[in-house]
Amino acid sequence: MPETILEARNLTKVYGQNTIFKNINLKVKEGEAIVIIGPSGTGKSTLLRCMNLLTRADGGQILLDGEDITAKGYNEDKVRQHIGMVFQNFLLFNHLTALDNVMIGLTKVKKMPREQAIKKAMEELRRVGLLDRADHYPGQLSGGQQQRVAIARALAMDPRVMLFDEPTSALDPELIGEVLGVMEKLARDRMTMLVVTHEMGFAREVADRIVFMEKGSIVEEGSPDDLFYHPKNDRTREFLWKITELYGKKEKDKGGAA
């Protein structure tokens, strides 16, 4: 039985009068790739941001390796080193080259010696296939390349788990594949991942478990086969039907399952 790395217990987030989500319980086990799907505005992204404390939850707990990181006085900067995050709009540091983007966490957070940091950063860039773009600035890279650098930046910290917040939603269709390719490789290497995405092909092929979220709660979760072919809940079926209708054509263009 693989151990639980990241866990949400009765997690609740409220903005003013609006409840974003309520009593979310979610366990991410070592080496597991979990994909969260669901309509826009159901709190998926906010849930991810709560998981690495970028946003404070209003109720419940988050446990990283069994430790309550939402406890008062817990060093949140320390926590975030262990939880990598990839954003929808990349958010690379614009004034730094690809290499420096990947290195900055190593030198400024981990206090790694420069030589060693360069070596490690180059290794991560190689992992995402961008070794030859090391000296390029974000403004000189395509969206897909920027997102791969962002993945390398997060990986460089050797996180326990990686969070992906709609990593391909801001990309032109022809650039989505390269980013999904990198993520797929990570999943194959048994990186622990929690992914919010609308890419159903990716969810079906890569996810160990799919979580369907709607209106601030988890409606259904299970293996891709269970969810896609035998959904128990009407809402799940309806959502999947709608989204395959939308995305189905695109996947066919790419030649079968993406």
């Binding site: 900067d77 320390k78 975030r80 954003f87 958010l91 403004g139 920027q146 930046r153 910290m157």
Partner: protein, 226 residues
């Protein structure tokens, strides 16, 4: 007017001496104003309620009153409270405090332009809030600020002319005394205008060089890629 070139050359050494002092007090005011302005902008953007209030108060007071009034309050007013400062120190304080308020606003604008995203990305890899400001936000914000901020050195250089009113022997003070000595105010002030113009021109060259040499490849204010 035909003998203006002779007049100009005759008093040039004296005027250049004054210009040297003008440049010195401009530089001092600019540096002091920059440090003060940067701290104020950071306090106003990232500080808690107390620091934000302090920053806003400072900016409002020094942008809302004439430089001359500030200068006189410091030079003639403070002695009433038992604090007597030299002319030079009074000029330095007034110019630095005044410039700081303006520079704070230029810098704040570019801090805001960098946006929450960069902060979030910095925090996400484990950088603390202030480390993110230092390593991620400031390097971008300072570059972004240069075009708008470039008004400040030029404006400050010209503002220094008011300190002749407390008899600091800078460029304007020299012109005044030359005008009194020669009974030729037109030639005196024209000569001074030419020297101010030349200084501003040179300053613009430096500022443009700065702007070009700090550019980030593929990144600028308009084309800020996601």
């Amino acid at each position: 007017m035909s003998d203006f070139p002779t007049f100009f050359l005759r008093f040039l050494p004296d005027l250049l001496h004054g210009a040297g002092i003008t440049i010195l007090i401009t530089a001092e005011g600019l540096v002091a104003g920059f440090i003060l302005g940067l701290l104020t902008a950071l306090a106003r953007t990232y500080g808690d309620k107390f620091w934000r209030g302090l920053a806003v108060g400072y900016i409002e007071i020094f942008r809302g009153t004439p430089l001359l009034v500030q200068l006189f309050l410091i030079y003639y007013g403070l002695p009433g409270l038992g604090i007597t400062l030299s002319r030079e120190l009074s000029a330095f304080l007034a110019l630095g405090l005044n410039s700081g308020a303006y520079q704070a606003e230029y810098l704040r604008g570019s801090l805001l332009a960098i946006g929450e995203g960069q902060m979030m990305a910095g925090r996400a890899i484990g950088l603390s809030r202030w480390k993110t400001v230092w390593h991620v936000i400031l390097p971008q914000a300072l570059r972004l600020a240069i075009p708008a901020w470039s008004n400040e050195p030029v404006s400050l250089l010209k503002s220094t002319a008011v300190v002749f009113l407390i008899a600091v022997p800078e460029l304007m003070a020299r012109a005044k005394s030359i005008a009194a000595k020669t009974y030729d105010p037109i030639a005196s002030y024209l000569a001074v205008a030419i020297i101010y113009l030349a200084m501003v021109y040179l300053l613009d060259l430096v500022l443009r060089w700065m702007e070009n040499n700090t550019r980030i490849p593929g990144f600028d204010m308009e084309g800020k890629k996601a």
